[in-house]
Each structure stands twice: as structure tokens, then as C-alpha cells.
Subunit: 370 residues, 2 copies
């Protein structure tokens, strides 16, 4: 965007852009962001903001090609690239390739089909990696297929994004029925829809479940978009939605090696009021401890959300085959499974997590190199 | 606490305790928490809350020794331990050994002395581990001394608490001056007080800096309690405090392998209005992007907090010796260092992080086994 005119005012520089829009840059901002204040090697800020006057005064602003020359009353001169001003207009967030809008879905995604991507190109080509990650970011759910028949094959794909998130269950985990289980996932019973580890300050971000065998009768996988269920509840029952956003409930996991607890709401909203996180796990929810006065209303709200997790309208069902890996945003998409009969065959999923931070970092790097 | 009387009401059971206090337990809560609803092996909840009526009805409540027998109109009978009712009164949070109150400090801590603990007992005795962790939790700062002269000695102590937090800098890091640095920590320049990695969704919790050598001239360490500075600002300039709590600013770290960004406020408050987190790192703060209208006031607020980080009143200075490790809550205590002259001697710190989740889990386990 080119500059149409510059006006020096007492506390701002007003820039009129080619399209007629006006941005007002406070003088202290201009001085704070003078390009001379960055470390030449690390690009980190070196300027001592406290060394500036409270109200630095701008004397003149002149445009020379793509640079705005700024002169201050203390003799300082800045050469501000127009591009810097244009991309950093006050009140406007800089473009962020990691800011992928959520595309909400309901059971109809099952008919369209969960997006599928092939393992080999995801492993070797950045464009395929990016395409798969964009589907996963947007829908919160995608499948990678044709994985090698090795336990590490799913982890290798996850590590294309970044390092694994370690939890008290390790960096990887085996979903098989095992003796002396410390978690229902390690039994053969049905698992109702849930998000993993809501008892953590930050529950794991993206979850990877690589199917190595699924020969038992039963054991199908269920998914539902927790954001879509929350948005529907917001429309249908605003008071229930409000309670699920505002009232924290206890979540806890406890065994011999860990006792990890938080109080958090089921629904977390972002700065713009949009749903950014769901914590829902009926068997890790602790004993409700809100005041008596709001408890019955809270139970109604909680059960209203719970009812949606049982509603076929929101569900996608699929039975993973050996060589397939389902990947989903564990802070958005609820997952579950049907019970299975371990006597009819082997069922083995190999799982791991990569957090949102690493995921969006990779998307940004792919966008800037792409 | 023993029960004085029980009163069955239309939607609650009212319990009068021995001290005369009354708790009202909503009937749905009683039914939800019937002890018969837990998985016998995992202790996770098995009850299907949706299978209950909206308003279950209690017919009778009788106390038999330490058990309250509850009869419902649908024939269900619960045997509720009095202890369960007593520890889970509505509106009251269950005791949590991980809930350690912050003991705020200012520069005077330097005179009293930062608490010191000896490595060997911390490694071998749970009571010494607990004592050190309680100091670290309460003050956000403690020193472990007499560590072995091995690079891994500090990590071994950190791992007494739990696994290490991995970041884009690895699971451990070397603070030495090195060529082609991607971060100011890897130079010999002074580092003003800051918290590490405020650009992460959750910055690392507890930081461990094990000093292996500190022979260079300069290179002293600085610490300040970010909570204390925030609380003082709240009293002196409530408007500045409010802006630092409510306005998010961009934080970003970017190199060839990572581009990790968030928008967050400098000060984060907990549910009770108490300060629970500080993000302050002048060289990782991005270009401010709030609207023009609030920007000058925000700069004043930010500079007011910044001025406190320069004020000797808040500072503790110490020069780590080989064999000492400083441990601090990176989401509370700001750290920095004086510049040093690498030609006068070697300076080498070996660092790692353990997150709050693992830290408080360990405190809870120590309390329940102690």
C-alpha cells in the first residue's frame, strides 16, 4: 500500500493511504519501532524504551521512495519503511499464517468424508505437509493413510510438524487393553466422546492415533466437533453456554506417579468471543464444587452439552484400518470409541501429541518458505 | 467434622455440621457423586450423568456411624461417607497441597538471603525435596548448592520433580556466549530482567540454571519478584495495572526453525483477582498493535512496569558460583544478568525447565506420602 499523504500532529503521525484510509501512529510508537533499535544478529529489540521521553516530538515526516524519513526534536532521525507502517497499523493485527479459521462441522462431515492424505508425500514434500496441516487446522480432523506397518511410522509424521508433547503417560502411548489399567483408555470398554487430559493446565494440542491393528469386533472410532456443539448451544440456550464459559469445574487425574489438577471451564472463549477450547471428559471431571445457588443450573447446562455429545447429529463414525492414522485437535474435537471384544482379535493404536505452539509454528514456516 | 443433623428438602439435603455451619447439597449432586459410580480399578467416573432424571428426589437421609444412607424415589440407595460430604461442601474447594500461597518479596530478600538447600538430601530424601520445593513455590526463588561438577547434575535434581519441558531450544540449554547467536542469552551482553519465552502459549514454569563456571568479570545474576512489582503497581497506578491485565500485546520468537507467537497481557489474574502470571521480555515483545486511542496510555502503563524492573528496590543480585543452581518460577520471577567480559574467564550455565503441572503434581504426591 502506498502513501498518499503524511501529516505531523502533536502526538501522532497521520498517514493517508492510497485507498483513502487513515492510520494514526502515536509518536512514541514510531520512536519505539525505529529500525535502528534491533540487534543486528538476533533481530531482537535492543532499544531501551525507558530511555525515551514520555512524549517524544516529531518535527517532520517526508516520504522518499519506500521510506518515511522522520525527524525528532531531540535530533534523532528514523528511516521507517512504508511496508512496516502498512503492516503494523494500530488496531490491526499483522497477518499470521498460523491463524486458520475453524471450519465447523457436524455429522454431515461423515457423508462428505473426513479429508484423507497419503503418508509418503506428507513425509517428503512441504506442499503436501502444508495441505494436510491446513485441513487438520481448519476442521480439527483429518486422516493420513498408507502408513508403513511400523510402530514409529505415525510418530515420524507427527515429527514432521515438531517435537512431541510429553505427559504423565509418556511421549507416546499404546491404546490396547492391558491389565491393571490406570485409565479407561487401556480397557476394552466403550469410551464416550471426550477430550484428553483436561486436567492439564494446557491439554495436549493435536493428537495422533496410528492404527496398527483393529481386528476385534467393535472398536469403531467416534468424533464430534466440540466447537460446533458449543456454538449450537450458544444459540439454543445462551444461559447454559454462559455457565459453561464462566464456571470452572475441577478436573483431576491421579495415580501413583501423578496428581494433576486444574479448575477450568468446559468452554473457553478467545478475545473475540469465539470458542477456542473445549474441555470435556466426564470420567476425569472432579466433584463439582461451585456454590449451591448455581449448582442446579450448572448441572442443567453441563447435561445440555453432554446430551449433544450423544446426539448422532454431531457424530462422525469410522473404523480405522491398519495403516491409517487419525489426527485431531484434542482441544476442539471430542473422540471416543465403541467397546470391543478383545477375544475376537487384536486392537492396537499407537498415539502421541504435538502441541498447538509447534503446529502453528510449522504452518508459519511453511507459509514463509512456500 | 461430624454431622449434627440432616434435613431432606425438595431439591437439597441440608447438613448441619457439629460447629453449626450448614451445607446444602443439591440432590443432583448427591446422586452424581454416589460412590457406586466409580470404576473399581481406575477410580474414574463411570456413572452416566445423563441417565439421571433432571430432578432426582430424595426420600430419606439417615446417618449410621460415618455413612449417610440416602434413599431416592426411584429406589436407588447411596451410602455416602460423611468425610466425602465434609470435604466437598458446595462453594468450598477441596484442600490442595499444590496450592501454595505466593510470599511476595522485594530487594530485602537479598539481606535475609535467598533460601539455600543442599543437593545431596534433595536428591535422596523426600522431606528435603519437599522443603526445597515449598520454598521455591512460595518465594518463586531458591538456590541448591553443593552440586556435583557434572553437566547433568542440575538436570538430575530437576527430574526429582518431573520430566523436563521441551521447547524450541531443546530440553536443556547452555548459557554461554557462542558465535551466530539466535538469542541474546547466547551473547555476553547484559540481559535486563525478563521472563523466558513469553511468546509461548504457556511459558516454561520453573527454570533451573546450574552454574558450572563463572570466572569471567561481571556476569552477576539479577532477580525480581514480578508479582510484587505488579501488586505495587496496582496500588500506585490502578489504571496502568488494568491496562497491563486487559490489553494483549504480541510476543514472538522467530528463527530458521521456529516462529512462535502469541498475543497475551503482561499481567494475568486468577479467578480471585490475584496475579498468577507475568510475561515481560522487552526484546521478545513484538510491535504493539492496540488501537491508537489506547496506545499512549498503554505505553505509559508498560513503561511504569518497566521502570520497576530497573528499580533497585525490587532487585536481588547474586553471583552464582560453580556448583550452585538457582531455581525460579519463570512465570513470576524475572531474571537477568550483568554483561561480562568473556576474555577474563569462562562462564557456563546449564539450564532446563519443569512446568507447573509436574511441579505441583510432585508436591501433592509428597504431601500424600509424607
Amino acid at each position: 500500500m502506498t502513501v498518499q499523504s503524511l501529516t505531523v500532529r502533536s502526538t501522532t503521525l497521520d498517514v493517508m493511504w492510497a485507498d483513502g484510509a487513515i492510520s494514526q501512529f502515536p509518536t512514541i510508537w514510531l520512536r519505539d519501532n525505529c529500525p535502528s533499535g534491533l540487534h543486528p544478529e538476533t533481530q531482537e529489540r535492543m532499544l531501551d524504551l525507558l530511555a525515551l521521553e514520555d512524549e517524544p516530538e516529531l518535527i517532520s515526516a517526508e516520504i522518499n521512495e519506500n521510506i518515511v524519513d522522520l525527524k525528532y526534536d531531540d535530533g534523532h532521525i528514523s528511516y521507517m519503511p512504508v511496508a512496516l507502517l502498512s503492516t503494523h497499523r494500530p488496531g490491526q493485527r499483522e497477518f499470521d499464517a498460523g491463524d486458520v479459521p475453524a471450519n465447523l462441522w457436524r455429522g454431515d462431515l461423515g457423508k462428505v468424508g473426513v479429508p484423507r492424505h497419503t503418508a509418503a508425500p506428507v513425509l517428503s514434500e512441504d506442499s503436501a505437509l502444508n495441505a494436510w496441516m491446513m485441513d487438520t487446522a481448519s476442521l480439527g480432523l483429518a486422516i493420513v493413510e498408507n502408513l508403513d506397518d511400523r510402530v514409529e511410522a505415525g510418530v515420524e509424521i507427527a515429527q514432521r510438524i515438531g517435537f512431541l508433547r510429553q505427559t504423565n503417560f509418556g511421549t507416546t502411548f499404546e491404546v490396547i487393553n492391558k491389565p491393571d489399567p490406570n485409565n479407561l483408555a487401556y480397557t476394552s470398554v466403550a469410551l464416550p466422546l471426550h477430550t484428553d487430559l483436561p486436567n492439564q493446565e494446557v491439554p495436549p494440542g493435536y493428537q495422533f492415533l496410528h492404527c496398527l491393528a483393529n481386528e476385534a469386533t467393535g472398536g469403531g472410532s467416534l468424533f464430534a466437533d466440540g466447537f460446533a456443539m458449543a456454538e449450537d448451544l450458544r444459540l439454543e440456550d445462551p444461559e447454559a453456554f454462559r455457565l459453561l464459559c464462566e464456571v470452572s469445574i475441577p478436573f483431576r487425574f491421579h495415580d501413583g506417579d501423578a496428581d494433576i489438577r486444574v479448575h477450568r471451564p468446559v468452554i473457553t472463549l478467545g478475545a473475540g468471543g469465539e470458542v477456542i477450547e473445549i474441555r470435556y471428559n466426564a470420567h476425569l471431571a472432579g466433584i463439582f464444587d461451585m456454590p449451591t445457588e448455581i449448582m442446579p443450573a450448572y448441572y442443567r447446562a453441563y447435561r445440555a452439552y453432554m446430551a449433544k455429545t450423544r446426539d448422532a447429529k454431531y457424530r462422525v463414525e469410522l473404523k480405522l484400518k491398519a495403516g491409517e492414522m487419525v489426527v485431531f485437535d484434542n482441544r476442539r474435537v471430542l473422540h471416543g470409541r465403541d467397546s470391543f471384544d478383545p477375544s475376537t482379535g487384536f486392537r492396537h493404536l499407537h498415539g502421541c501429541y504435538v502441541d498447538r505452539g509447534e503446529f502453528f509454528s510449522r504452518l508459519r514456516l511453511l507459509a514463509s518458505n512456500g
